[in-house]
Symmetry: C3
Subunit: 673 residues, 3 copies
């Protein structure tokens, strides 16, 4: 009885418990007018649904669900477990978390429970079961949405006990723990797991004991995943065919989303780009979301139909911007355009957050019209690209443990930001219009021609060997400073970096200099490199490795400082492939040219040539290949489609040669047979 | 037996408990030399006066009061309840507050008690009674000064219980509370008042639950007022004719001063302008102080006779500056020039705060001479303007609940600052030399010709109706962005802003764009507006409402962004009046011209024309009208008195035509009959 | 049996408990290759040495110590008491400190114990005794190193009780306490020592009660010193001839190091200059270290052989920089060049901190080679300047109580920074190449010709009288703004500043203006001063005293503001000496010329003339005078040795006339007979 959408899911969060019948009737009319086909509810209604322990009050929800379904709209049923009722916190204080400062929280916020509280889990499973029993057969049920934006870190005594058990399971003995955690440093040797404390402000271990913090963050992911499964298990028992997921907060760093999503039926992303973000940043995050289930399509579970309320300066979405962002999501693998929210709340923290229906309560607004227009368009697209994959020949390695460990490290620079570093390299390939997959380090590398592994500081067991094989078989690998430094326990390699990748890269790193933010070195290219590049020298910043080459060949040299003349970019030939090493962070211009040349070398072609701030992607949908072209610029741009003819599914027009896109316009192209 | 001053009160805080007899004798001589006629004491002597519970030691105070009085000086007796003795905190820990972080405080600071502690109140009333009994008939007693600069926020269990009772009283039922607080948002529904917690860092409700924080701030005001009345009641029982007040800290936002002062005999303001403040800022605060009792004269209870110690850079008061600031107070309705402090402490936190008598302990200092000179002048002025009112035809609406709610709101911009917004508009009228009253929203609007209501976000019951009537009867109302958004529970209006003012303004607001701090839009004036203004276009910043006009007429249009060409300044004619709406914050130059034109339209004339940084005010004193002219500039300026002749009461000179004022000079003018 | 070094101590921290036998064997070879003659261990091995209470495990240490000694290397034995074992914290929670926020800490960090815990002291003494018994007769034992970088501040109940006893001992009675602490201010009078609380965030006394915080900081020093002596006493009982010390953290402000080092056999300094520090800043700190035992040579106990990990941007040490900094230490009185650390840890917080042997684990690195080269050089120098003193005729007064009190004061400016103020004046004399001693205020002033006492705010009993005598007998005293303000209890002088120095300076201070950071006044020199100086006027900033001269003569006048024309630099002749007063902070250029002229006047000659960023010092060693010349610049510089001939002990070359030093080069010169 699983609902298989035949259209892009269009709609989002709806909170009918805030409204009376008159308003709800009006909403139904407006939903129809806007082409809404899915709403998500009742995310925040636990207190309303379970007024006291085990006493349920579902009648109001029955009515509203029926009404929604009568109006031809599916619903994604949310277990309301993100915000427990006050009576639960009061009767069972263990439900409330303790913060990093050691303070027991009082009832209030959302996502404000201890993810290890057994009582919380018991009551969460109970209400999930109640909903599954009651609505599992409802024809309108499209999916289960568990809780909301997990991500609380708890430091209570219960978590402490569980953390010790988790460590015991991971390390077996204290001797092994002492060894793996390198506890001899600063006299941290323990003789019992009971001597290990959570890393908090009370012992400053959260910032002075990286490996402990790292394991704590892993433990939080594992515990949170248990929390999700606690409900998912119940739901799946009743409705084995209905997909179950939880939406991922924009603060993706908090939990290892590869792990989290492994137990979900798909990834659901809350996509809230900042108005000043370069377009490649949300693109990269969306590619990551697709990567969470190894290329499977996902949902954009939330985005904003207009301004937000929680940014420093909450700008209106410009005309066309809502549509552009929605298509960007779909272009990268989303099967939905879901929004927080359908109707704007009159009170509470987010009363100024945009909505389909604003406080003015009318369809006579710019935003309503833009969304209604898009609703029509989406209906027209049908299932053209639903579940479509996005093949890529370029892969970026991404790893949460690496992210955490890299940024927890004290030194070499305080400006370590894995996501921005990733983006620095991602952007260059993205702007060359080649599709990119973001891969876990255990992914299958064989289908790729180019792998980029920025700052792969933590070299987990087997990864280096697989990368070596990848190169030997003809692949191109790009690695950077801060590569191969530690093992999976954040313990440095014995012997020089890049440790197990030393042979692949053909060099070792003698030492690494940190530059001040306003400091720059130079990359001076080899004479034969110079012929291929626009300039003979480029700036580089951030960190400067001093390299000792073994089999690698230098391609560029530092231009300044006491290591002027030493290599800063090298290539190592291994088997039939190549491994490039960037010893410093080159300026954007260089990375862009470099990416292009690497792609050419490997025969990786851009989807189309383009000019202007055009984004290009491709999905292989149910009915073949679909190209997305999006103009993020304020000026017109074009895509050069070449000699073949395409149909723009949005306008129905046939296109060939140069397709001009106005500012913020979008084309969804299908090749004519 | 009430002392009715026949002179401006001149003197201030005196702490004789810090000094031995020799020093006190010297102080008396210096006081006489300086013309001091009032001292305030013993603000910080509770521990000295009550060495243990119920055991009093007043002899030293008897002596010092007699000595003061023998020297012809009145005193304002302070109940010393701002700093409880250590034994009280120790024996009754309930007296100590709990902070927003949940930490029980230890004994130490001043204003460091729980305003709801019954034990605190019991002991405070007891010592107040002891003082009333002992000194109630002392001929030197001029007034009662209760505690000092109230403003502690407490979060103890006792306050939590009281807050719940307060809520029960306000809302009656939990159902009503859930409704008014819009608890359905984020699943905050409660089933008992006991499920409501104080908004603290423990639940983050202080920043993520605006209405709860709003009510908590109201509750703090009510509780603090009870604290004041707890002592005032006792004092009034013994001395019904002696005025009772408490001085208001410069951090006026903490407590609703309209409420606080409603139970006092007058407002007493601690006036500590920052050296870089524009002169209109203290002017506005002083007007607000006068507004607290609907135009009645007030006291400047503290100001600094020289540098402070608690500013980042404590500058000396420039020659003439102390006098200038003292007269600015009087010009706006103060009947006093009181100072913290008479003699500089040798130890403690404020040992570097300026004083009449500095550490050097001599009258041979610049500051002593300046103050002594002013003492003579004030004596000369006698009661000329005592209790004088300051009629105004321009009123500004000001409201503490609005202040709190507006700044608690999440969005649309983080730079929301009610006081500075108020000042942006106040300044324009102030610089046009028209008197201004600052009014509570329940004030009588009938006597005004122009009402300015900047950012009147919270529209309390009945205010809109009264503003509508004001316009209909011929008044001019000026409203801005962020008007009419919520009701008194911070719940947004159902339907578009400005809610109940929609008819009066003749428009509704479709959406509001927040500008980045460095971003600017343009106001392009109507062609006929252009004729009246110096420029045809002005900058505007901060927020930009997109308006939908109903009966309003556009006066200016946005010049940029996607809403270029849409109206940003409108007027609506209603009855015989006009309502202007500013959809964005215009640059200062525009506001200044706009204010002038509005005044002209309504026949509101400036007191005099002037040139330079001249401030002009008028008080209607016991013996007729008195004009104050103050030159805040570093250069000479002038006032054009016209053809009439005035006497400068400070110099005795007759003035007519252009009266030149040197830098920091002051004139107090009376028209010759 | 005391080891009297015949060579400069070269080596540093070594953590063999982190390594297996193979690595340790390799280390021994590398140590020999590098010329290491001393290692410090086992700083962090308490948990390893005492696995449970009273059960010791020293065998591994026996072996390693023997191996070290077999390799001809001495060791400095560290009691491992800086980081207690987890079992100790767990069994006796009293061992864990409470922080300023009132939070009981959990086990984790180093220096993370209550310095007043009796249990901590008991176990610390026990393991110290165990080590003394076991290794007291080991021929390799060079010194005892107690704990590491003391400096934790604890606020537990036990400390509170001890603080009250400390106060009772210091003040005798509460009446005296009330008086000395000036408790009448803000009503702080107490009736029992039990009414005094530690100054914490719970009562805000740490920032609003300067004298209480001051006494608390004194108390922490006294308690920490007890902690040191608790171990030192045991060690000295077993090995009365072996020197005992603890190394001083770079955060020298935390503890009064004069007091701390008074109980040590020498000062040991952890010298970590920041790459952007002016060279005079570490020079000043090193002179201070020498001053801690009144001119006796000291140890640089730690410095970094390459980059650090805990700075924001951890730069590599440039070629020659390690050597230059090592010689700077020796030039100022150090008998050692000790490093943290010998081998880089693979894990933990400081895994990226530089080491003799880096993660690469090889001697084939730039840093290893530089250090090995220096090892040879140091061997060549032998004991030439060991224990050599550095006579100086210029003394700077320095005082921890003054530092604390000055910066605790609220006002006159928030930018009060004693160390930087000290450095502003120190730098001028330093750059004139005259040796400088840094003196405690109770030092013998007689041997000096010039005394500089910047901001001697706190005038302790007898100091003013001794300074007066110093001047009368012909000395030159330089004092500044913020002089003679308080007594040793931070209570302001009764009467004008500079209080007891008023006669010596011949003036009093009427008031002090604070300048904004971007504000400047002018010093306009007297006509006869103008002849001696390069410019007739110089900038001055920070604070401006308004002076009232009595016997002093003005040398310069303010050029701006309302006190333009008033004196800002004066001299007072008293007996056969002179006392200069700087009423404001002159720009560097003036101070440099002023220092030069003062020196000339007093016949204090620079060691040599020089050009470039040359540092010059002299030590009187076992075999006569040794001059150090160091070029801190990036360009060559020279020293003009005049007509005499010197031998450069590093190169063996004879030098006369202009000795050119390349960038970062060093010369150690001995005059030829």
């Amino acid at each position: 009885m699983y609902y298989k959408p035949s259209e892009i899911l269009f709609g989002g969060d709806y909170n009918p418990d805030q409204w009376d019948d008159t308003v709800i009737e009006q909403d139904m009319r407006y939903f129809k007018e806007a082409g809404i086909n899915l709403v998500i509810l009742p995310v925040f209604s636990w207190a309303k649904l379970e007024p006291s322990e085990g006493v349920y009050s579902f009648e109001w929800l029955d009515q509203i669900l029926d009404k929604i379904w009568e109006n031809g709209i599916h619903f994604c049923l949310a277990t309301p477990t993100v915000a427990q009722p006050a009576w639960l916190s009061k009767q069972y204080p263990e439900v409330l978390p303790v913060d990093i400062s050691g303070r027991k929280r009082t009832h209030g916020m959302r996502v404000f429970f201890c993810y290890n509280s057994l009582k919380y889990r018991e009551r969460a499973a109970a209400i999930a079961e109640e909903m599954a029993k009651r609505y599992g057969n409802h024809p309108g049920l499209a999916a289960w949405h568990v809780a909301n934006e997990y991500g609380t870190y708890c430091y209570c005594e219960n978590c402490q006990q569980k953390f010790r058990l988790w460590l015991k399971k991971r390390y077996g003995t204290v001797e092994n723990l002492n060894d793996k955690w390198y506890n001899s440093f600063w006299g941290r040797t323990v003789y019992s797991f009971d001597e290990v404390y959570l890393p908090t402000e009370l012992n400053d271990d959260y910032r002075f004991n990286p490996v402990r913090e790292l394991d704590y963050q892993r433990f939080v992911t594992d515990s949170t995943l248990e929390c999700f499964e606690n409900e998912a298990r119940v739901l799946r028992r009743y409705t084995p065919d209905v997909p179950v997921f939880s939406n991922i907060s924009g603060h993706i760093k908090k939990l290892d989303q590869f792990k989290m999503v492994s137990k979900m039926d798909y990834a659901g992303f809350d996509n809230y780009p900042h108005p000043t973000d370069p377009r490649s940043l949300p693109a990269m995050k969306l590619d990551l979301m697709r990567g969470l289930k190894d290329g499977k399509s996902f949902l954009v579970a939330e985005q904003s139909p207009n301004q937000q309320n929680w940014q420093p300066y909450n700008k209106l979405k410009r005309p066309g911007e809502v549509r552009l962002l929605a298509y960007q999501g779909m272009a990268h693998g989303s099967d939905s355009a879901l929004y927080f929210q359908m109707r704007q709340s009159l009170g509470g923290q987010e009363k100024f957050h945009g909505a389909l229906i604003s406080h003015a309560g009318t369809d006579d607004t710019r935003i309503f019209r833009e969304l209604a227009q898009m609703g029509k368009e989406l209906k027209g697209l049908g299932d053209t690209f639903l579940e479509g994959t996005c093949d890529a020949k370029v892969g970026f390695l991404f790893d949460w443990d690496n992210w955490w460990a890299l940024e927890l490290a004290s030194g070499p620079t305080k400006d370590m930001d894995y996501l921005w570093q990733m983006h620095h390299y991602y952007r260059a390939f993205y702007e060359y219009n080649v599709p990119i997959d973001i891969l876990r380090v255990t992914a299958d590398f064989e289908k790729y021609k180019v792998l980029v592994a920025p700052l792969l500081y933590m070299m987990k067991e087997g990864v280096a060997q697989r990368l070596e094989r990848f190169v030997e078989r003809g692949g191109t690998l790009i690695a950077t400073y801060m590569t191969g430094v530690t093992d999976e326990n954040d313990r440095c390699v014995f012997g020089a970096y890049p440790g197990p990748l030393r042979k692949t890269m053909g060099l070792w790193v003698e030492e690494t200099d940190a530059l001040f933010p306003d400091e720059e070195n130079e990359m001076i290219l080899n004479s034969w490199m110079t012929q291929a590049y626009e300039k003979s020298s480029y700036g580089c910043t951030f960190l400067c490795d001093r390299l000792r080459l073994e089999t690698a060949e230098p391609l560029a040299y530092y231009g300044k400082d006491f290591y002027a003349g030493e290599p800063c970019l090298t290539v190592n030939r291994l088997g039939s492939g190549k491994a490039y090493y960037l010893a410093s962070q080159p300026e954007e211009a260089f990375v862009r040219e470099f990416a292009e040349k690497i792609c050419r070398e490997q025969g990786v072609e851009p989807l189309f040539p383009s000019e202007g701030e055009i984004e290009l992607t491709k999905r292989n949908g149910r009915s073949g290949e679909i190209w997305f072209a999006l103009n993020h610029g304020k000026k017109p741009g074009y895509v050069d489609l070449g000699e073949k003819t395409y149909q723009d599914l949005l306008t129905g027009k046939r296109c060939t040669g140069k397709l001009v896109l106005e500012s913020r316009d979008v084309a969804v192209l299908k090749r004519e047979q």
